[in-house]
């Protein structure tokens, strides 16, 4: 286990022990620590701020009520993201089943990625890629992905979970996670490359 990871992991476990002993302030510390990341993940999953807020509240309430079930085998963040992901999936199954039923459709040319490998994108400086406009493009490219691909790329590349953790959170095999990630990254790359190619042509 990486030392930094171990330190964070043990810190969370100590806080969980305090919550289980009845210290509600300790629970609020955990909420403060994870609320931003969980809200971001839920927004990306359901695509709606109000719904993401409701799901965030449900997620922390479920976590509080089920805290004894947290065994410490995985990190607390993995455990919390799994609860949030399941809550979001339950909501989507009920209210937006089409997002799950057609989840496999992704438009990306995996056979000939060279057609959209643009130096305009690859050589763009970070201050342009991460400008307000650049960040909007990245967000849009991620949001355009079907749900299962969006979830995987957000968990791995935005949240920084390992492949193993993404597999635990999404209940999918590592092979499935790797394949979805490959397609998701390729689709985002393609979208960004096309955007910067067009931008270059029009300037």
């Amino acid at each position: 286990m990486r030392p930094e990871y171990e330190k964070r992991h043990n810190g969370d476990r100590q806080t969980v022990t305090r919550v289980l002993e009845g210290d509600f302030t300790a629970f609020e510390t955990l909420v403060e620590k994870y609320q931003g990341r969980l809200f971001r993940h839920l927004r990306k999953m359901v695509g709606d701020n109000q719904q993401a807020e409701d799901l965030l509240q449900e997620t922390f309430l479920s976590a509080y009520r089920g805290l004894k079930g947290f065994t410490g085998n995985s990190s607390l963040s993995t455990w919390l993201f799994k609860i949030a992901t399941n809550n979001a999936l339950m909501f989507l199954r009920k209210h937006r089943p089409e997002l799950i039923e057609y989840a496999d459709e992704i438009k990306v040319d995996l056979d000939y990625p060279f057609l959209t490998a643009s130096p305009e994108f690859a050589d763009s400086p970070l201050e342009i890629l991460l400008s307000r406009e650049g960040r909007e493009q990245i967000e849009q490219a991620i949001e355009a992905l079907p749900l299962i691909y969006r979830t995987v790329i957000v968990l791995r590349d935005v949240e920084g979970f390992s492949l193993q953790e993404v597999s635990e959170i999404t209940d999918a095999s590592i092979t499935a996670v790797k394949s979805r990630l490959h397609r998701a990254r390729s689709a985002v790359r393609e979208a960004l490359a096309s955007y910067y190619m067009e931008k270059d042509l029009s300037s």
């Binding site: 609320q35 509240q57 309430l61 089920g66 060279f114 490998a117 130096p119 790797k178 990254r185």
Partner: protein, 84 residues
């Protein structure tokens, strides 16, 4: 794993390569290919860039009103429950 021969084969595994999911031999093959093949190198560079910027692009700031409603909600609901 499929034999790595054509550019198409190599591109199929660039994501796994980025995640450190290849054996030392496979890594060496990919690195050799990327040194020789400009189109694949460009695909790889833009894929790596995509991964690098994704984590920096999406803010994890939570609006203050959302955080404050969450705090109030949890204080109201958790107070009534035992941690089980």
């Amino acid at each position: 794993m499929t034999e790595l021969r054509t550019c198409k084969d190599f591109c199929k595994y660039l994501s796994d390569y980025l995640d450190g999911q290849m054996s030392a031999d496979q890594r060496r093959l990919i690195e050799e290919h990327l040194r020789k093949c400009a189109p694949c190198e460009l695909v790889f560079r833009s894929l790596k860039l995509t991964v690098d910027i994704c984590c920096r692009a999406v803010s994890d700031e939570i609006p203050e009103d959302v955080a404050s409603r969450l705090r109030a909600f949890l204080r109201e609901h958790c107070g009534k429950d035992e941690v089980t």
